[in-house]
């Protein structure tokens, strides 16, 4: 019996050995099938369980003013996203999160119950809210790091800067125009999750990898502030609808400030009307009124029709052109061209235009850039309106001479003004100076080429002298005069066109000028839209704001006064 048992034990061992070998072989074959033939599919399937890739916008570059003060920066901000398939109970999750995120509970529950693989719950929320959401420890709720745009100076130069949207793309202004230069590269943000849903071994961008280029503007933060304040006061004091002001360097075309009122805060742009976002100094045109007379004078003198002392009969306040009658605010008889500019006589301007002729006037106005875009580096520029001189009627020529029947943008008018201030060269205006890399090296110089001469130095000098007379006693712009700087300027008052007719109640008051007369450092234009009817003239409404901007800006720039008051630090007698 024992022998038989031993004999069978040996056989059993062999049978069991063979059986286990067979099982191992089956396991081996299955392992080869899984590891070799189905490896790719299974790996992807597994990766879907513990990995998630999210495309996140990169960090935008900084926008600096000309002195490298930050005007727009990108800051870290977190967004809340959800993977609905991983949420155990959408109702509970919605209840817990709705209070923190300030979202309607039912709406959130509906969103969390969708079959989408990924949804944004709320973008760019405060760190406190992020911590509160994290503390809930909900599975299927992700905190995604993103960047949010922040404007530390709030309303300062807001219309010029514009703003960028939630996906870090520029939507308005400089942010939009130079989007490609300062946009950060998008990041694929991969999150690995463990069984408990904890973030594990995150693959993120590093700060160095994602640093975008920065933009340096020509705008000066302090001058912008001075302009903003002066414009705001002028608009409010005159109970006007709106206002805008531009400060430019005549020799280069650099924009030092572009101010608008009403203002808006780009940090919360959705809370403001769309109308307030627009950079109206560039996108909108208006009839300039008498400020155009300086360009009429330039045409008349440049083509040799008259000199500053040529006299014209101003018809004692009323002049008929066909069926129309042109009026002057005060009646005048004989006046020189210089006096026509000083007292802003419309009839005198019509007489000068008649002498100059349509063609010469049109040529000069075109040369100053009216009727076409300046090419400034900002979106949505208007070319204004200057119809072909062959279509002008007699009354058109007359009204264009004193700035009605022609429309210009604030930037066009300031650019043309700069051409007179700098001795006759039309410069291309610009807001951005350069694109710099994160180390501060210039990688793109945005300074435009030298401008073209449009009038002679002599004509420019003569007009400058005439413009100075405007702010002297008896002139229309006496409110713009300063004690320590010789100012040159011209007032403008234009009736607004409402429902196709010139309004008797709505006006645009403006003042355009530059200072100091000898070597102009700045050219300034102030435009006030619909000031109080009682006191609507450019000389009363816009000239004081102009004077304030010029005075404070020249002081800030440490420009020597014309009547130099230099006192030795040592004797200190005038201190």
């Amino acid at each position: 019996m024992k022998t038989i048992d031993r004999k069978y034990i040996g056989r059993r061992i062999h049978v069991l050995g063979a059986f286990f070998c067979f099982l191992f072989a089956v396991i081996g074959v299955k392992a080869i099938q899984l590891q070799v033939f189905e490896c790719k599919n299974l790996s992807e399937k597994a990766a879907d369980e513990y990995e998630r890739s999210i495309l996140s916008a990169g960090k935008r570059g900084i926008i600096y003013d000309r002195k490298l003060n930050e005007l727009a920066v990108s800051i870290h901000a977190s967004s809340i996203a959800a993977v609905p398939s991983q949420i155990a109970c959408p109702k509970t999750a919605a209840k817990l999160m709705s209070a923190i995120l300030d979202i309607d509970k039912k709406e959130l529950e509906e969103r969390l119950s969708r079959k989408n693989s990924f949804i944004w719950v709320k973008r760019q929320i405060s760190p406190q809210r992020v911590e509160a959401i994290k503390a809930l420890g909900l599975k299927g709720i992700e905190v995604i790091p993103e960047f949010s745009r922040f404007y530390p100076n709030k309303t300062l130069a807001a219309q010029a800067l514009g703003f960028s949207g939630i996906d870090s793309r520029g939507l308005e202004g400089i942010e939009f125009f130079y989007n490609d230069d300062i946009e950060g590269t998008s990041n694929k943000y991969k999150i690995m999750k463990d069984a408990l849903g904890r973030g594990f071994d995150r693959e993120e961008w590093t700060e160095d990898q994602k640093k975008a280029n920065n933009l340096v503007l020509t705008i000066d933060r302090t001058i912008q502030y001075i302009t903003d304040e002066a414009l705001k006061d002028a608009t409010l004091n005159n109970q006007a609808k709106a206002g805008m002001a531009v400060v430019m360097v005549p020799d280069t075309g650099e924009i030092l400030a572009i101010a608008h009122y009403p203002e808006f805060n780009p940090n919360a742009f959705t809370k403001f009307k769309r109308d307030a976002w627009r950079n109206k100094a560039i996108t909108d045109s208006f009839e300039p009124g008498s400020t155009m007379k300086i360009f009429l004078a330039a045409a008349a003198m440049e083509f040799g029709y008259c000199s500053p002392n040529t006299i014209f009969f101003c018809e004692n306040g009323e002049y008929r052109i066909g069926k129309n009658i042109v009026h002057d605010t005060h009646p005048h008889d004989w006046m020189s061209l210089q006096q026509i500019i000083k007292f802003s006589s419309n009839i005198g301007a019509v007489k000068v235009a008649e002498m100059t002729g349509k063609k010469s006037l049109y040529k000069t106005l075109s040369a100053f850039g009216f009727g076409e875009k300046t090419g400034i580096d900002a979106p949505g520029e208007t070319p204004g309106s200057l119809t072909d001189y062959r279509k002008w009627t007699e009354i058109d020529t007359g009204t264009i001479a004193f700035g009605q029947g022609v429309s210009v943008s604030a930037i066009q008018l300031t650019t043309a003004l700069c051409a007179i201030a700098n001795g006759g060269i039309l410069m291309k205006p610009y807001i951005a100076k350069s694109v710099i890399d994160p180390d501060g090296n210039v990688i793109k110089d945005l300074t435009p080429k030298k401008g073209k001469r449009i009038i002679t130095q002599k004509t420019a000098n003569d007009i400058t002298t005439m413009m100075h007379s405007v702010v002297t006693e008896g002139g229309t712009g006496v409110n713009a005069a300063l004690d320590n700087y010789r100012v040159c300027g011209k007032t403008g008052t234009a009736q607004k066109v409402i429902n196709g007719r010139y309004s008797e109640k709505a006006f645009i008051a403006s003042f355009a000028g530059f200072a100091p007369q000898k070597d102009p450092a700045i050219a300034v234009l102030v435009v006030i839209d619909e000031p109080l009817e009682k006191q609507h003239h450019g000389g009363a409404v816009a000239a004081p704001a102009f004077g304030r901007i010029v005075y404070e800006t020249l002081n800030y720039m440490a420009i020597k006064p014309d009547d130099l008051m230099i006192v030795s630090l040592h004797n200190g007698k005038d201190r």
Partner: protein
């Protein structure tokens, strides 16, 4: 009898070899598992350090932005006017130092 002893001896050698093999295999298994656990722990540690780094960078960024905000002309002018009582000087009060 002699053959039986030889057979038992050779079986003993095979058992020892198997035990040794299994021990090595188990040791390798434990070492591998330990390495994986360490790897996971290090992963968590790196993740946490990265978070801390990110928090500090954000703090630095926020401080620099706060600094810019504090330097804004609007705020400085307000303090100058309201707290210190400064005003824009009149032309005769301005002295440009050459």
């Amino acid at each position: 009898m002699k053959n039986k002893k030889v057979k038992i001896k050779s079986h003993k050698g095979a058992y020892l070899l198997t035990i040794l093999f299994i021990s090595v295999f188990l040791a390798e298994l434990f070492i591998y598992a330990w390495c994986r656990v360490q790897c996971v722990q290090t992963g968590y540690a790196i993740s946490s350090e990265k978070d801390e780094n990110k928090r500090l960078l954000a703090l630095r960024e926020n401080l620099s932005i706060e600094f810019e905000r504090l330097k804004s002309p609007n705020r400085i002018a307000k303090i100058a006017r309201q707290q210190i009582g400064l005003i824009i000087p009149k032309p005769e009060q301005v002295i440009i130092v050459p």
